[in-house]
């Protein structure tokens, strides 16, 4: 747009040679301004990605030269029980944690959307956990809260549920980790709320005239109109969930216990790479994660056509 406009005005005042010169200047300026990102992209993203792809086919311990071993890392991954366990733990977390978190986010967003006053306050209060939830501090607090005789145990005992400490119980650590992610529902909630505000009120009025109830309105108006935002949140939160690290590390003292129940994928990758110095193996794990996340993204985009509704207006 700028291009056509300037060229048009340029021809009126200056010789025709001005347009190409302007374009050349733009190219130079463009790459100059892009330089920091471009350097970072090449040196810190593309370069390392390619070298980790290479390393994934080698045996490398940081001290001796990498030794080419072909697909050995990848094949031994699938015979490694700890690896398979970490896949199971992570998938469980993603499959249960993410939908729960988004359901909580959507429910609270729908509630807050009714607010006539005080919405700003509520929105901020619900958002606060998202800002601190992934920190080491909260992991420590979570561990104390869900420990034996901790407030959660105490609270449940009051209702006659005696689970003991969740932290030391391999079958309760996953619910505990899922609660930690659901607790951070504020970030997707804020995005949902912004999406709800963009739905034209006339649609609801028209539906009321047609006699639609609350449920019908949600199914036929709210959800379709909100679906791009649902899609965005689902994609980002899923990818994000695969990468949980700090909380798992702190809660399990960096070991993924008890009984491997918090051995998340990235934690195992870290242990393999930086405790055992099996960097080739860890690189294979990293690439497998990239492939899985890539495939999931692709599946999301493919299936989105059937349920994500993009309205005609571009803004």
């Amino acid at each position: 747009m700028t291009q056509t406009l300037t060229r048009h005005r340029g021809t009126a005042a200056a010789p025709p040679a001005r347009a190409p010169r302007r374009r050349g200047a733009d190219t130079r300026a463009g790459y100059t301004f892009l330089l920091p990102w471009l350097l970072g992209f090449i040196l810190l993203t593309v370069g390392p990605m390619l070298s980790s792809l290479y390393l994934s086919f080698t045996n490398y311990n940081l001290f001796e030269a990498p030794k080419w071993i072909g697909l050995d890392n990848y094949t031994s991954l699938f015979q490694d029980e700890r690896f398979l366990q970490s896949v199971g733990v992570t998938l469980g977390y993603v499959v249960f944690g993410t939908p729960l978190k988004l359901a909580a986010a959507l429910a609270v967003a729908l509630l807050l959307n009714n607010a006539t006053r005080g919405q700003g306050f509520y929105r901020s209060a619900f958002y606060a956990p998202s800002l601190i939830g992934a920190s080491v501090s909260i992991a420590i607090v979570w561990k104390a809260m869900f420990g034996d005789q901790g407030p959660v145990d105490q609270g449940l005992s009051f209702f006659g549920i005696n689970l003991g400490g969740w932290v030391g119980n391999p079958s309760m650590t996953m619910p505990m980790m899922i609660l930690l992610t659901v607790w951070q529902f504020g970030a997707p909630m804020v995005i949902f709320l912004a999406g709800l505000k963009q739905i034209p009120q006339e649609l609801y009025e028209a539906a009321s005239v047609d006699g639609a109830g609350r449920f019908r309105k949600f199914v036929n108006i709210t959800f379709p109109m909100l679906s791009p935002v649902v899609f965005f949140n689902l994609l980002l939160e899923t990818i994000h969930a695969f990468q949980i690290f700090a909380s798992a590390y702190i809660i399990s003292n960096g070991e993924g216990g008890p009984a491997g129940s918090t051995l998340f994928y990235t934690l195992y990758l870290y242990l393999r790479g930086f405790s055992d110095f099996r960097m080739g193996y860890a690189s294979a794990m990293a690439w497998l994660l990239v492939i899985v996340v890539g495939v999931i993204t692709l599946i999301f985009f493919r299936t989105s056509k059937s349920w994500v509704h993009y309205s005609g207006d571009s803004k």
């Binding site: 700028t2 993203t45 920190s135």
Partner: protein, 303 residues
Amino acid sequence: MTTLSPPTQVRPSAATEYNPKADSRAAKRTRSIVFHALSLALIAVVLYPALWMVSSAFKPSSEIIGNSSIWSSNFSLDNFVTAMGGIGGVSTAQFFANSVVLALGSVIGTVLSATVSAYAFARIKFPGRSIFFGMMIATLLLPFHVVIIPQYIIFQQLGLVDTYIPLLIGKFLAADAFFVFLMVQFMRNLPRELDEAAIIDGAGHARIFCSIMLPLMKPALISSSIFAFIWSWNDFLGPLLYLNSPEKYPLPLALRLFVDQTQSSDYGAMIAMSVLALLPVLVFFLIFQRYIVEGVSTQGLKG
């Protein structure tokens, strides 16, 4: 309901019956009360862990476990005194200072590099722009674990392990696409007529960027700074990978060390230190909550 139709005109003096909306107003009131009660109850649940954390920091360790109440009659500052004493021969003030250095470095690097790069994406037309823009978006979704091993190897060979350089260089090279994306979205909403007028006046891109864009970018600059600060402040994996000497540790690593060494025996001091570590984030949030929440919602909407 009965007051709805003709009576309104027949008896205008009777105030309660006069107003056809009286009924719905009462309903609105109840709805509003229910709404606030429900929201407050939910907030109480959601904020309980935070309240429990703050109150536990003031309790003696013996009262933290086996006690779910927020209140205690033995509140004291003892835990904070222990926590401020530091760990491994390094004072907590030093950890704080380290965190501040890292966070400020991150803010400066991120804001500088992301605005400049975003200007190229949003306002300059050049061959390759859309390809690079697509790649930038793709890195938003890329699990960064795929680059940590080679990056570590590179920094190790350059002798930069146990310095802050590996933790900060990415910020100065706009490695976090989130910020570039945020700025691009913001710039695209600024009127193009401004640039066009400036171009006619003979201004180059450097001029347009400095004199027109930057002043208008203030809200985006502020929310990016806040996020860069908080994320750096809470970052754990980066420092865990690159820092070995405790005197260089930022707070999250210091906390881990503290947990390792006290082995959960002194819950009170542990939680007090957690509170101290979160304090700047909470203060930032209280001051800048508008910017933070707005930043999150615009980022999501224009995706």
